[in-house]
Point group: D2
Amino acid sequence: MSRKLRMGMIGGGTGSFIGDVHRKAASIDGLIELVCGAFSSNAEKSIQSGKNLFLPEDRCYGSYEEMILKEKELPEDVRMDFVAIVTPNHMHFPPAKFALEHGFHVVCDKPITLTLDEAIELQKIMETSDRLFALTHNYIGYPMVKQAKALVDNGDLGKIRKIQVQYLQGWLSTLVEKTDNKQASWRTDPTRSGIGGALGDIGTHAENLVEYITGLQIEELAADLGRFGEGRTLDDDGNLLIRMNNGAKGTMSFSQIALGEENNLGIKVYGEKGSIEWYQENPNELITRWLDKPKQIYTPNGNSLYPESLSVTRIPAGHPEGYLEAFATVYKNFATHLTAVLEGKTIAKPDYPTVADGVRGMKFIYASVESDKNNAAWVKIN
Amino acid sequence: MSRKLRMGMIGGGTGSFIGDVHRKAASIDGLIELVCGAFSSNAEKSIQSGKNLFLPEDRCYGSYEEMILKEKELPEDVRMDFVAIVTPNHMHFPPAKFALEHGFHVVCDKPITLTLDEAIELQKIMETSDRLFALTHNYIGYPMVKQAKALVDNGDLGKIRKIQVQYLQGWLSTLVEKTDNKQASWRTDPTRSGIGGALGDIGTHAENLVEYITGLQIEELAADLGRFGEGRTLDDDGNLLIRMNNGAKGTMSFSQIALGEENNLGIKVYGEKGSIEWYQENPNELITRWLDKPKQIYTPNGNSLYPESLSVTRIPAGHPEGYLEAFATVYKNFATHLTAVLEGKTIAKPDYPTVADGVRGMKFIYASVESDKNNAAWVKIN
Amino acid sequence: MSRKLRMGMIGGGTGSFIGDVHRKAASIDGLIELVCGAFSSNAEKSIQSGKNLFLPEDRCYGSYEEMILKEKELPEDVRMDFVAIVTPNHMHFPPAKFALEHGFHVVCDKPITLTLDEAIELQKIMETSDRLFALTHNYIGYPMVKQAKALVDNGDLGKIRKIQVQYLQGWLSTLVEKTDNKQASWRTDPTRSGIGGALGDIGTHAENLVEYITGLQIEELAADLGRFGEGRTLDDDGNLLIRMNNGAKGTMSFSQIALGEENNLGIKVYGEKGSIEWYQENPNELITRWLDKPKQIYTPNGNSLYPESLSVTRIPAGHPEGYLEAFATVYKNFATHLTAVLEGKTIAKPDYPTVADGVRGMKFIYASVESDKNNAAWVKIN
Amino acid sequence: MSRKLRMGMIGGGTGSFIGDVHRKAASIDGLIELVCGAFSSNAEKSIQSGKNLFLPEDRCYGSYEEMILKEKELPEDVRMDFVAIVTPNHMHFPPAKFALEHGFHVVCDKPITLTLDEAIELQKIMETSDRLFALTHNYIGYPMVKQAKALVDNGDLGKIRKIQVQYLQGWLSTLVEKTDNKQASWRTDPTRSGIGGALGDIGTHAENLVEYITGLQIEELAADLGRFGEGRTLDDDGNLLIRMNNGAKGTMSFSQIALGEENNLGIKVYGEKGSIEWYQENPNELITRWLDKPKQIYTPNGNSLYPESLSVTRIPAGHPEGYLEAFATVYKNFATHLTAVLEGKTIAKPDYPTVADGVRGMKFIYASVESDKNNAAWVKIN
């Protein structure tokens, strides 16, 4: 195809953290251009946000409905191809559904929806839709995560026995939601965040990472959630026992009150033949351990990598890629798929999270909350 | 006192791992000399082991009873002052009791006894004994562990909220107990190891480290133990949720099937004002995080340390101390106490693990096994 | 200004490493769009490269002269604002001069020119030009480099005494220039690379980093260059003594035969009050040491940073930024300056490398080669 | 042999740093016992120091001459076997010579003597002596240094091309020699330290480490020494270019004014097939890089080690050994050799530094000072 894909954004006005991330991630590989947006439910603000992004005023809308309906009327070579939904959780499902029903493809931030019911409904919609849906579990975009998965898939680690996964942040150690911190405000509010606090915000990333790398599923879990910030109704901390569907056992720990931690997503997976260890804050190292060899450290574009890892690096070994590039890989893989679809082609094995991953995430949230209510009793995810 | 303390060893014949460690640790600081031993229940072998250690034949005994009874008859300025018990777990209690009853002080490897009952009986004996008893939870001897404890004790971290502790080894990833590996053989045998496998061998170290650093106690736990090695009756892996007696929550994970891990004891403690992170394999760094300062790395004998840490280093900053030195610190503190006692003095606050720590360890083992039998139900430790 | 800046690229056709880097770096912040290119001296190839980038055929030119002359004729609201020169070294000066003379601003890869004479001529041109010129010494774009510089500038380190800087790669350990490796081919060829091999390619980055962070200049140097690859006429390795213009002393080491090293640019600066240490492969940590405090680790967007560092991060602490983002910061600062100029405004203190830095780099190359010819005798840079 | 070796110490009274280190190092492996000492030239003080070490008064002497002469008269099964010289540099040669001439073996701290002439004279003495002489270049005792050497010796790295070695400390950043710091006082005093300051104290360790690991010799060097502390006559900092006798090139940097550095001895060696990197402050990791494999990290007693490394570890993998253990390995290897000699046996390849290493060290000091006086001109070491 001889053109960039055209993206319309929902949410992500000036000052938004995640909207800016999506825009940068979408632009890095030169496959996508932002053409319009419903950046705010206030038309005035939406136009101002659009101006800051050099968008023409008439492509800045005051609501996602307006955007979707008006864009639909534009000539095919002008109108947006897909929407990127970067709003708080309660505003994921309505625009996703509306966009799909009006023929637009969808990229959506996680967790997929406010409630499990919404997620299941979205899954049903997708079953009969020919549109694409991508969920931005961005952390699986790292080259060393791809390598970790490939090591498991190729049997290098042998049968998986033990897992430790953590996602530790400290930014809610104090009651910042009582200041003018918008990020904290909606994330601690069940009407906008859903029944999970840290659980939905970062626990789902941990769950997704484990299942992506190992190819296994969490079969059951026992969750002990914490609400350490005074007055919080949603969890700001969680400790879990997990059992995988192959018999492996492990722990998960996530927190937003782990004081001083910045964004410490990490995972250790131990098999019968080898083991891996990886941390998001130092993403360009994959530590591996073996029965009869010294510890080995893989690096992006370095020696002895699987093609699945090599194919997602952009620059030579030793030139660190970061969070935005990993995020961009989700967009790139989505764009590659969408371009193929628009050209009437098929693609062997699209590699980005979909509605199925979103439903897993919501089931994980619900199972954890149920377990926690029952004093960390075991709850199955199915 | 103008002399070294005299140590008699029980167990630890030629080829023993932990016997050699105890001897080296006891000798580093020049306060203790090995004068006799019951290195084996085979008198011949005991003598041979003693010879390798340059001991005279008549101080090498064929049983601990023989050693204790004969040494007792020796002149006061010749006979041993204390025994060091370095046998497998089932042979801790009998010699400890026998030594105490015959007036000898005791240093004993962990876990303190084979059963909880034995531990409680030992505690009762100690209540009316004027002898000293030290349990070699050696990991608390590290200078950075002392600093971590001091940071907590001085309130620098504020109220503790979250804990992660792990003790990961991989040496039982394959069935080495079926080879001629003596270490593996008795550790996987309940008659010599007790009801805990990895639980007793390393889980108790993790438990002890948490309680030592935080000054808190594990109030209840939910334990999911694994027996991954085919045919093993004892656990070789464990994942636990823990709740501390101040409301803090956390996870514990220990394993001897975490393939490729060597001796990865590590701990993270998060408070309301600061946090610490420490790993035994890199023991000379204590990572600390703060609300409003950059991450700080303390080093032994480096800047800004508490006296409790400074006092246990032997060499200038940048000269790494290791496992043997940490172990030696337990011996040194015990020796300092014992010397004071022998000189009729008292000591403000002896800093080495005692029978109380040993009982905590056994209760931890029993609670974990009970929890595991009930599908990881919560069990209180009291 | 209500529009993106328009970039025309010289060099950087399909398959080029550095052209792709420039395009990605220019696009991340949404301030620049690629509108045209002379991607190859072969018009056919240039068009094909442009197609891959979704450019219209009529904006893909067969030479930089053609591009510059034709773009000049386009309406002001269409034509490119500046050129990005991403060719091998011998093709830096001619297009830079041509572009400036025809009124276009210039971004140019390093080293600035093939020869020192060219660099000095370019500097003279710039003295009377009202156009902007940016040199992409990208490594100074890292947030932790900005923090390091700010620590020096604010006197936190005190007077600088000692410096160690290294730039270690291993990709020329074997004679890859004899395979079809284009990168290796021109870099080992004096007619395209100039008199410096590794010296020009990476040594200049090391020189630039030292002078940027410390605010000092290398006053004299003694260089011992190596040509380890059989048949190489240009250096592939260098070891230098350096003396700074404040009396500080140090070493510099760069190499492309440091087997196994990927892109290990690193620097240590020791002052009378504090010290810093930084490595490009782990760019999100700045290690600092102090007379009376523990070692402190700064992180991008973390605690206690200077505004100069905070202002160049794009995402929250713990979300690693990498090579492309650092590169993008050079483009962003250039774009901000150029936008101000186009709007008739001035800017306090543009922060990107200029022709002066380029001349310093060339003088560094020439001094090093002269020193090396005289058995590493001291040579002044002035 | 059925007894420990008997050591007499010269220097190392109460409060001495290095005396205590020698005593601990000598005692760890249970092969050596301290039996007497001339701890001070003040007989009173010597006796008091001996008392603190539980020595009888009549084995505490007021001078090394007295000790050597009196011990010589003691029965063979009582008198010391060897002396350990732990005095400042100016007091190395006289007691070493005196001890050898009276039939005692010698262990001596580095640098071997005050002057090069003394070193050469000592070498001559040794040529006709049947006594043993060990120089405590302790850093080569680390298991990972042994592994590094074995990798070179076995050709795994191929021909060595490039070397970087550093030994960085910061403890002389301020004028501590003007306080009551005894360590600083004699080390900055040429009458007690010799013509080298940091050069002799730590530069010689760096030189020894390079030559030990690579099996090469520094053929020539260019040294730029610094005297940053006001009023210092001896160097407190040095930067060197080095050329090895196989054509390899490199840098050496040492300093005692590298503020905040503790004891950062480190080395990188790059060959045609592989490379190694090691740091004394984290001694239990040996980083290796390869043409076609990922980076590998060796650990003591871990996978894939050479016997030369395995044979010097005392405890299982993951149980860190430190500075004292590395130091102890020099003593252990010396003791093993001496025991063999006393038993009338020979030993294949004793592995501890000898007088030859000491002479190399002195030549290194003298060449560096000469080079520095001539503005860092090249000076050969022969």
